[in-house]
């Protein structure tokens, strides 16, 4: 079953005529040199940026026919540099809870990523810890497609492997993910399809 489809997507001046299908249970690794438009493409798919032409379709319905909030809840972009949402880890999680429909954030008050503390100030988080938190949130807010922009670029090997396992579980549960990476072996480890941008 096709979850997300892009047809003839154009985002000037970098992306022209881009096609993609993401099936339920599928992970696709997106590779390409810097400046090839990987981030632009993810942002366009999440409808955070407009496109110049082409179609984005989720579960048979075009992006333009879906209200933007619903679209972004289903097709979620995750920043490479995880932004601070609030002053502490706990307040960040509460901020997420207030932003999504009641009951859709599947994390409890004291439930935080391994190695993080609820009271920790987000300003003191390392890049890797912030990424861990961002992925933790993304996996628990009910999205069907995750658009991951180098989500493990600041993580150590052990945390990276753990993040990959979590994404694999997420995809195996009938969701899909498009993962931007510079790591050519990632696709092999996942047995995933590779899409190349030039």
């Amino acid at each position: 079953m096709v979850l997300l489809e892009a047809r003839g997507l154009v985002r000037k001046p970098v992306i022209s005529d881009f096609d993609l299908t993401l099936d339920a249970g599928e992970l696709v690794v997106l590779v390409g040199p810097s400046g090839s438009g990987k981030t632009l493409l993810l942002r366009a798919l999440a409808d955070l940026d407009p496109v110049d032409a082409g179609q984005r379709i989720f579960d048979g319905v075009a992006c333009e026919d879906t209200d933007p909030q619903t679209w972004r809840r289903r097709v979620r972009y995750v920043h490479q540099r995880a932004p601070r949402l609030a002053a502490t880890v706990y307040e960040s999680l509460e901020r997420v809870r207030s932003a999504v429909p009641a009951g859709t954030f599947a994390a409890h008050g004291a439930d935080v990523p391994a190695g993080l503390d609820v009271g920790q100030r987000t300003a003191d988080l390392s890049g890797g810890e912030a990424q861990k938190l961002a992925l933790f949130i993304a996996l628990r807010t009910g999205a069907r497609v995750l658009l991951l922009d180098e989500p493990t670029s600041a993580l150590d090997a052990a945390s990276s492997a753990e993040a990959e396992r979590a994404v694999r579980d997420y995809v195996d549960a009938g969701n899909a993910a498009l993962w931007v990476s510079h790591d050519e072996q990632l696709a092999e480890r996942f047995g995933a399809r590779v899409r190349r941008l030039s």
Binding site: L48, P50, P68, Q69, R72, V78, H79, R84
Partner: protein, 274 residues
Amino acid sequence: MTTALALANAPPLTNVDLALAAVLILVNAAVSVAFQLGLGRRLVVASLRAALQLALLGLVLGWVFARDQPLVVLGLGVAMGLVAGWEAVRRATRRAPGLLPAAMGVMVASSLGVTTYCLLLSVDATPWWNPQTSIPILGMVLGNALNGVSLGLETALAGFDEQRERVEALLALGASRADATREVVQRAVRTGMIPIVNSMLAVGVISIPGMMTGQILAGEDPAAAARYQLFILFAIAGGVALGTTGVVLATRRLLFDERDRLRLDRLRRLSGAD
């Protein structure tokens, strides 16, 4: 009891009196020279501009008062609001298409609205739009609203620009435009309103406001002058609140498109924006 009536008793200032006051500008000049501030030129320009602008204001007001026509008063009021809107945008370090008309509209609507409310409900002027009452009140409301609007506008523009990732992370979670921009809007409106709140706290203890000074100088009973000043302060606070909120919301509207996307491509950063 209007300012104009009270000022009719004021001891008039002669040109010699003014010249003596102008000597005080030399203090500024001396400071500039002593500390090598390089402000000499700007001081001269600023003093001359103040003199010219006030002389011009005197002429225009004299003309408007002599006409005594509601449309002329309205025309002057709208013109003052438009200039204030232009000044607020001119001070900002970032621009966006549509910002100028938006700021002008907000200035005119908030300041004329508050002034009209005061004139209709509180001041016993006949007719209610009497220029000798309405124009000075509008001028004070506008002058302060400009401060709030200008601060609110700059903080909002900088906030959307610098908080882009946070705003977009919330949008990506499916937050509405209003929810995703809550912190940016709060901060901008608060920044715009702080000066008037602070000045209300300080008034009478640390400072004697200009209008009250004028009335007391003109021989008005200090208690009556205080009542008038308080009335004006409330009007000013109302104008600042409406103007600041209006311009911050208008800025958000201009920087988002119909699908709730933050369109920083519409933003132009001038030198001075960090």
